[in-house]
Amino acid sequence: MNDMWMNRLSEYLDGELDNTERTALEAHLATCGECYATLGELRQVVAQAKQLEDTPPATDLWSGIATQIRRGSVVDRPVRRDRRRFSLTIPQLLAASIALVLLSSGGAYMALRPGTSKVTPQLTASRQRGIGTVATWTGPTDAAIADLQATLTENERRLDTTTVRIVRQNLAIIDRAIAEARIALQKDPGNAYLNLHLADTMRRKVELLRRVNDIAAQS
């Protein structure tokens, strides 16, 4: 065994040797069975490391985290001292009215959900705390929603007419809310509240479409 080369095998494997060293080590590998075999085993170790899987904790840790963030929410969360006096602009008033529409239309959404979900619609004043944070939420969600809606069109015949009617009514309300939020954002693109509101409304639409498609698929 040549210890000098044996100790360089990982660097060779990772492509970290310069040309001269790599050539010399390859020449050594051609004559040293032990280094050649070890190199093969190291390759397997690297491959096995990439296949290791993540496993969740044995116990749910959320309750402890929730307790801590509730306890520390006032003192630990950064609070913007320089925030201007709170007042609603016209777009914000518009968004607030949309929120009320969405909340009042939540009945059908809730009725479609089997059991209790962790996704709890809540447009509460607490979100105002982070109003200085501008959401950078973008993405091809429209295309994704279009696909889900196409699937829903195919699935609608599996649902009873009352459900279809309620779902369509709620989708129309959500679409109106999305459209109005986008119009408001065109006037005030940096408005954190509106960005968050649009993100939340689109997420609700995705969740509703998914839920209805799941129900249709199971019926």
Binding site: S10, E41, L42, Q48, P56, P57, I65, T133, T138
Partner: protein, 183 residues
């Protein structure tokens, strides 16, 4: 749009939306983020530290994430940001429990604990168990490099060592683990 691409898009957008909501103080959105990422964070912590510390440190990671969410600018994915935060919490923990640099550099000898060829299948360790029994320095470099994909210069900066030490520890770790490959 292919179904998998659609699912990935929706998942990424959903996480981005939840991140924005959580940053504004929505604990329900933050719980969804927790449930999406807890396995990855807990596994990283468990591999980098002792298993009996994993629950506490994982909770600490998420509490710090909640506190620091307002600094998340969206330049990277939330998962990447959280992962880096978890690494930093682990490394801070390592320092706070007195695992000083000298021990990190000089802990190659205990590799003998896991380097013997298993005599019988019953005595063999599985790969995760063998990884857990590596000396701390070698284990952390192996996890950061071979499992998590960090480069030696990044690892060296994080651990406060020179890149050569990181390379050396990685080689020691691999040499020990090759005897415990799942065949």
């Amino acid at each position: 749009m292919p179904r998998q691409v659609l699912e990935d898009t929706l998942t990424a957008d959903s996480i981005a939306a939840d991140t924005a909501l959580a940053a504004s103080g929505d604990a329900t959105a933050f719980e969804r983020l927790y449930r999406t990422h807890v396995a990855r964070v807990h596994t990283l912590v468990r591999r980098m530290l002792d298993a009996d510390e994993a629950d506490d440190v994982t909770q600490d990671v998420f509490i710090r994430a909640w506190q620091k969410l307002s600094t998340f600018r969206g330049e990277s994915a939330f998962g990447t940001w959280l992962h880096r935060l978890a690494v930093n919490v682990v490394l801070a923990r390592r320092k706070s429990v007195g695992v000083e640099r000298g021990r990190f550099i000089n802990d190659a000898e205990p590799l003998d604990d896991v380097s013997g060829k298993p005599i019988t299948p019953e005595l063999s360790l599985d790969f995760e168990e063998a990884l857990a029994r590596l000396p701390e320095g070698a284990r952390q470099v192996f996890v950061l490099h071979d499992v998590e994909g960090y480069r030696h210069d990044e690892i060296a900066r994080m651990l406060g060592v020179v890149p050569g030490t990181s390379k050396s520890q990685l080689h020691h770790a691999r040499m020990a683990l090759r005897r415990h490959l799942d065949r």
